[in-house]
Amino acid sequence: MIDPIILFFLLGAVAGLLRSELRLPAAIYEFVSIVLLLAIGLKGGVELARQPFTSLLPQMLTVVAMGFGLTLLAFPVLRYLGRFKRTDAASIAAHYGSVSVGTYAVAVAYLGSQQVSFEEHMPLLLVLLEVPAILVGIVLARGISRQTRWKSIAHEVFLGKGIVLLLGGLLIGWVAGPDGLSSIEPLFVDLFKGILALFLLEMGLIMATQMGSLRRHGPFLVVFAIAMPLFSALVGTWLGWFLGLSIGGTTILATLAASASYIAVPAAMRISVPEANPTLSLAGALGITFPFNVLIGIPLYHALAVWAQTFAKG
């Protein structure tokens, strides 16, 4: 059965495509994303408190390597098959090598309603995956030159809203532990799916605004925006199996790999690689990949994880 939060996304998309007057004020969009980011961080942090940090190191390193790898793989495809300008190819590759927090949240909700459990420290991997793709993207666009202002890039990357809230939530959850957080659960746990529904309503509206630029940029981008997540999900599934993750954990890792950033990376690229046309990456990530993952991808990656597990066993 279809999860109602997906229906909110469809409502937003339809309203947007029909040019309805419906708009969410920007302040509401920010409120909703702040609560989601904190909630995801907090949940992961509580879990981190439960396990020895070192036991997670292999997963952390693998995931960082995956972030580097996927970006490096996407770049030549975009540059030579897609014939994008160097800076555009680098920027799009960075978007797809990084992750989308909204997609992650939908995957969590999906697994919840399917009653599939997963390793709760996934938010840590989410944070880690945001970063490497940005660095690779900048180097691909600029080369490694003396001129690159790494200090201001690091500032842009690590002090952006998304990372600060996720990381902050992780640390708060880690320090406070499950008991400490019980008093703020009504906001950050009980309301999570309701607030996610509002977020998806807005995402639907935003997605609809990307349709115009999508048409302008031609079919290659559309194909890439579906093929790349499918490929990345395979990589993610394989790594999940390799790391010995549960079915749920493998599904999440595949979803992370398949998702494309539309918050942290656009902001960083706009400042660090301004020559890249931002509408290209956003049309792909928001106009195609986000809805694809949310509507089709996540259940698919789940099936893939089940299959991988069975295959591995038998």
């Binding site: 969410l24 920007a26 807005e202 605004t209 400042i271 301004p274 020559e275």
Partner: protein, 100 residues
């Protein structure tokens, strides 16, 4: 009451540039600035401010002619090619010329 002529420089550009431009303005000797949130349309498409990456800001700087020329030149060189940005200048009268 005695009034003096100064320039009012208005820049309309992407919200993402705000902190960068504010730093630039300080270095280019603007004595102040005022920013409002905006949305709009131009040669780089519609920017309807529905979400953060898609909003504009409108920066106003009251300054003397030399500063206006400097800021204009600097912004033109550094941002015109890569960012949605327009810039225009008008004449205004101010009361306390030493401020600007």
């Amino acid at each position: 009451m005695h009034s003096h002529t100064r320039k009012l420089l208005t820049v309309i550009t992407e919200a993402a540039l705000e902190s960068t431009l504010v730093r630039d303005l300080d270095q280019l000797h603007a004595h102040g600035y005022t920013i409002t949130d905006a949305r709009g349309k131009g040669s780089r498409g519609t920017r309807n401010a529905g979400w953060e990456a898609n909003g504009n800001i409108r920066i106003e700087v009251v300054c003397d002619t030399v500063t206006a020329v400097n800021i204009t030149a600097y912004f033109q060189e550094h941002y015109y090619d890569d960012y949605a940005m327009i810039l225009f200048v008008s004449d205004i009268e101010v009361l306390r010329p030493e401020k600007f």
